[in-house]
């Protein structure tokens, strides 16, 4: 082992020396022999959060290959270092450490879940490595950390988007019903927090278990609460059961679902009960019904086509977050004309008017996400399909 390590160290020195010689020799020539730009990623490709990490990794691989096929960046190739943390925060920390210390990456695009992101964040901060997270929670960027950015919209924005819509209907008494999963709980807390800001009066706050199959009890209580609209902060199959039970107990109030259920599966499981349900969603999911003048239309259509042609499976918003993360990094490297970490960080923070799958990104020193409520589209289910509200 000792021998091996010695040999490796020696080999590295020799290689380093050889590279240095090459570098001197090749000075001034096109940078074909130059070091690749190293992009690091730790993602939850397997495990309970695989539905996030799997499309994210596919997207990163797809676009790194594409950029390389087009000649790379600053005359250098991109090289992707990716690890699967299986949704485990402890592993995510180990892999982030390996990316920074061993693989010496220039920028990290990764962290599928809030848990894995939070575990890796201190390492990025200590080592001064730009880190673009793909996870949802507001806590990642609030308070602002110097080296940490994120691409997805937050659940707070989803709450705000819904409250704005409820307000536009001149309603104010809202009943909350939420599941007991992490996503559900976090969104419920954010909704409770921002409700007063929009003049919303929360008249009921019901919860259901993650595997619960009957929510008529909760909805019967909501029926008697005097609510004017109902908001279901949920993820997975729960919201579909809520939707069906909602019609069953005879509730006719406007029902809002979260961005967590913006998939065909939700409409399929809910059946006709989903008619009239509204929810905020990213532009990517409705790329086919976006108006032609929409700034995001070309981006989301191109990404969707590239992804679906290559992998023969439906595109998801999560892969879109990875696309945005990679493109923001790529644009910043172009703008900085270098991979110097400090300059790269400044360039990411200076991102303005980047049109991505998640929305139009305008970052600043105080905002490391750079999205506003326009990133969300309010959708309504009509005739078993999505339609844009307004």
């Amino acid at each position: 082992m000792g021998m091996f390590r010695f040999n490796r160290a020696l080999a590295r020195q020799v290689a380093g020396a050889a590279l240095a010689v090459c570098g001197v020799a090749g000075f001034g020539s096109a940078g074909a022999q130059e070091q690749p730009i190293r992009i690091g990623a730790f993602l939850s490709v397997t495990g309970p959060a695989a539905f996030l990490g799997d499309p994210e990794l596919k997207t990163l691989e797809l676009y790194v290959d594409r950029i390389n096929a087009e000649g790379g960046l600053l005359g250098r190739k991109l090289q992707l270092f990716s690890y699967d943390d299986a949704g485990d925060a402890e592993k995510a920390r180990t892999f982030a450490k390996r990316l920074i210390e061993q693989d010496k990456v220039d920028v990290i695009v990764g962290g599928s879940t809030t848990g894995t992101t939070m575990a890796a964040m201190p390492l990025a901060e200590q080592s001064s490595t730009p880190f673009i997270s793909l996870a949802g929670a507001v806590t990642i960027i609030e308070p602002v950390k110097k080296w940490v950015f994120k691409t997805p919209h937050t659940d707070r924005m989803a709450c705000e988007k819904i409250f704005v819509d409820i307000k536009a209907r001149n309603l104010s008494k809202v009943a909350l019903i939420s599941g007991s999963g992490g996503f559900d709980k976090s969104m419920r807390a954010e909704c409770v927090k921002v409700a007063p800001k929009y003049g919303m009066d929360l008249v009921a706050d019901e919860t259901y278990g993650a595997t619960d199959t009957d929510m008529t009890a909760q909805l019967t209580k909501i029926k008697g609460s005097g609510a004017q609209a109902v908001l279901n902060a949920g993820f997975g199959q729960g919201p579909a059961i809520v939707t069906r039970n909602y019609r069953q107990v005879g509730l006719a109030l406007p029902l809002y679902q979260s961005h967590g259920v913006a998939s065909r599966e939700y409409i399929k499981l809910s059946g006709p009960a989903a008619e009239g349900v509204r929810l905020p969603a990213a532009a990517l999911l409705v790329s086919d019904i976006l108006p032609a003048e929409d700034a995001q239309k070309p981006v989301v259509v191109a990404y969707r086509k590239a992804y679906e042609d290559k992998f023969k499976s439906d595109v998801s918003t999560f892969g879109g977050h990875a696309y945005d993360g990679l493109m923001i990094a790529v644009n910043a490297i172009k703008a900085a004309r270098s991979t110097d970490k400090a300059r790269l960080r400044d360039a990411i923070e200076a991102t303005k008017g980047y049109v991505g799958t998640g929305g139009v990104v305008n970052m600043s020193a105080a905002d490391h996400m750079g999205l506003d409520l326009s990133a969300f589209r309010m959708l309504e289910v009509k005739d078993g399909n999505w339609s844009l509200v307004k």
Binding site: S180, E206, T207, Y208, G209, T211, D212, T213, D214, M215, T216, A217, Q218, T220, K221, G224, G236, Q237, A240, I241, R244, R247, Q248, V249, G250, E265, K268, L269, G271, P272, A273
Partner: protein
């Protein structure tokens, strides 16, 4: 307020009917082998998922349901032959551990075959809720309660009126004596697995339009059915039905009047309470020595 009461009772009875079917499956296998079959929930899942698959292949719904129940029975019989029967002379604990292994295997297999998605069967007779005294009921709930009641009656007739049923009953009372009078107790164990799977699959198919089904749907249904079987008294058929209905009502009313967050906890509190205060269950005193 009456309408709220009715609503809670209606949803409690619907869930209770399914728990009763699952609990009956536990009772049947327990009587034949003295062991608890923790793969019972998976038989429920296989029933629901196969029905979805057959329907997707274009098989008409009634036939798809029959095929799904048959599929679940075949799976159960195979498992009895391959995994349980070879160890039938081993201790009860060994058998229980084998069934836990079988449950994990079936869940993994289901994930491979059907993926991680959630599926739904259409309601057998439409989706339009029926209103009564201010509460509402899905037509499927009537199917669930009626179907479960029919299955229980058929089971009663099987045990009371057929020779095979009587042989199975005799084995559950005294295995040695049953062998002495010429009953093939090995065949009884084999048949019990098939019967338990059939009941479970019927439950799985009946509930799939309301509660959906997925590869892991068997975990919770199995646990709830087990709690119901414990509550009624392990091994007692009447107890299993009573336990299922009582557990369903406790859940429905508990979620309505206390908090829905504790709905699943109710089943576990019931298991603990039964173990502490009523080890024989409501109707199962004659088996208390085995608990």
């Amino acid at each position: 307020m009456t309408s709220a009461w009715l609503q809670f009772i209606a949803s409690g009875l619907t869930a209770g009917a399914i728990y009763a079917l699952v609990a009956l499956g536990f009772a049947i296998v327990f009587n034949a082998s003295g062991a608890i079959n923790f793969a019972q929930g998976e038989f429920v899942m296989v029933g629901g998922m196969s029905a979805v698959s057959f329907l997707a292949m274009g098989v008409p719904l009634p036939l798809a349901i029959a095929l799904a129940v048959a599929a679940s029975v075949v799976v159960a019989l195979l498992i009895e032959r391959v995994a349980v029967s070879p160890a039938r002379n081993a201790g009860t604990v060994t058998l229980i551990i084998i069934t836990i292994g079988v449950a994990l295997f079936l869940r993994g297999l289901a994930q491979l075959v059907w993926g991680k998605g959630v599926f739904r069967l259409p309601g057998f007779s439409g989706e339009e809720p029926i209103a009564f005294f201010g509460a509402t009921l899905l037509p499927q709930s009537l199917w669930v309660m009626g179907g479960a009641a029919l299955a229980v009656l058929a089971l009663g007739a099987f045990y009371g009126r057929t020779l095979a049923g009587k042989a199975m009953l005799a084995t559950s009372y005294n295995k040695l004596a049953a062998q002495l009078v010429g009953i093939n107790t090995r065949a009884v164990l084999f048949a019990s697995f098939g019967l338990a799977a059939a009941l479970g699959a019927i439950g799985g198919v009946l509930i799939a339009p309301i509660a959906f089904t997925s590869y892991d749907a068997g975990i919770m249904l199995g646990l709830k059915g087990f709690a119901a079987a414990m509550l009624g008294g392990l091994g007692s058929f009447a107890g299993a039905v009573l336990g299922g209905v009582v557990l369903g009502l406790l859940e429905g009313l508990g979620a309505g009047f206390v908090s829905s967050a504790y709905k699943d906890a109710i089943a576990f509190v019931v298991i603990l309470a039964v173990l502490f205060f009523l080890p024989g269950g409501l109707l199962g005193a004659r088996h208390s020595d085995r608990v």
